[in-house]
Symmetry: C2
Subunit: 255 residues, 2 copies
Amino acid sequence: MARLSREHKASRPAPARTRRLVRTASDRTASKRRASDAPYHHGDLHEALLKAAEQVLERDGLPGLTLRAVAREAGVSHAAPTHHFGDLTGLLSELAAIGFRQFGMAMAAANASAATPGEKGMASAKAYVAYAQEHPGMYGLMFRSEKLDYARPSLHEASEASFAGLARGVGASRQEQIASDALSLEQAAAIASAWSLVHGFTMLLLDGRLSKILNLAPEGTTAEMLLTAMLRRTTPIRHASHDARRPPPQAGEAK
Amino acid sequence: MARLSREHKASRPAPARTRRLVRTASDRTASKRRASDAPYHHGDLHEALLKAAEQVLERDGLPGLTLRAVAREAGVSHAAPTHHFGDLTGLLSELAAIGFRQFGMAMAAANASAATPGEKGMASAKAYVAYAQEHPGMYGLMFRSEKLDYARPSLHEASEASFAGLARGVGASRQEQIASDALSLEQAAAIASAWSLVHGFTMLLLDGRLSKILNLAPEGTTAEMLLTAMLRRTTPIRHASHDARRPPPQAGEAK
DNA sequence: CCAGTTATCTTTACATCGTAAAGATATCAG
DNA sequence: CTGATATCTTTACGATGTAAAGATAACTGG
């Protein structure tokens, strides 16, 4: 009941409910930017659809994020999104671009809030995982979906910026400048390692595949604690002078 | 042309083409194992569907792996698989279980072929990535699909065995025994690190997200070389005595 | 050896999805 | 005010997963 055959009417309480009749895109170009009308209420359907898509994604997850569901959520016909995004891939790509921007900002904030290089790396990694945990649907869209088109300018740019932030963070934690046009093998390996480690951890964690490890670990070990322990054994920055690794409390390797 | 509306007839050249009439599952139990009839031709539809599914997966990738496509490939009606696997999730889970077994065997072989602990870890990691590169569809099914049911005994068992192999490998490379019922935080972090690193690297590589890093790295750097460099900077087993890191050829960090 | 039972497979049907095409409608240009 | 255009709705089609009913073969018990 209450879930028989939607899709025709049944949604869309009133056709006059389309906000203030229309407005359309020329609104953005002709008048400045709907100067004083509704501060943070969406302007056009383009925006409304992205907003709806984000809600659907958070509510129903990646599999529920369909073109028709988004149209339903926004209160328009199921074919309306086509005109704005062309394609399911188009809409998902634009949404993923938003995700990458959010993601990049969260990472940058974490990086800025830490003081030392080592702390910066740790904070960035934790922010990476935290973002994915707080927005699993979005992270899945960004990194698991097979329906993204990275040729789209907005997505390309956003993901590129996010990557640049990562590279910069790794460079900072190594206390060296990262050139934007060339990398040494060392640097490439450092960046790839950091990204792989944190991305792999995130994926495994979101997929519940680390639960066994967490259960076998000492009582009360959380994902954050595990991540911290993981980073600790990787990050010990090569202060080649005094090689103070944490004392091996139960080491078995003679020499 | 030649691709208009399949799904009814048009496939299935002849209905009498169903191998040798029937045979069914009782074949496996009654007669021994079709002793001398067709050495490596499948016995029952269950097997035939899994075989067909693997072919479809390799040919058309994860998005092409649908129930109906598998039925088509096997030459049966689209509803036939239901009886054997109940569900799309059922079929995908069984197929993923096969993948995990293949995967585990590849890892074990690599591990066995190496001599020293360090080489074992390196070889296992390379085998991990190599398997994913050779079977991207299967790896995607195993680690990217959202339609798996790990409660299924075969999948649960296979993935568990694969994980156990991983844990054993990490333990060996640390030259310590891994208890199957408890882990120190150190051990948990080591296992999670190894898995995260190699899984993250694989996912990013398969998604083409490392291409920028590979392009920026020195001319001719391959994924394998990058992986090797990544592992080298992680694995240097704490020989706390002589800390011979490879000479930094173009380092920029003063001190 | 034969009739009934059961497992296996096919047909048919339905809701959903993405997408294309045609019709309706409101905004804008002149 | 009228025609052109952008935006949205209807309608339609092929594809998918799944359920239900019909058909068909193998198996069982006598």
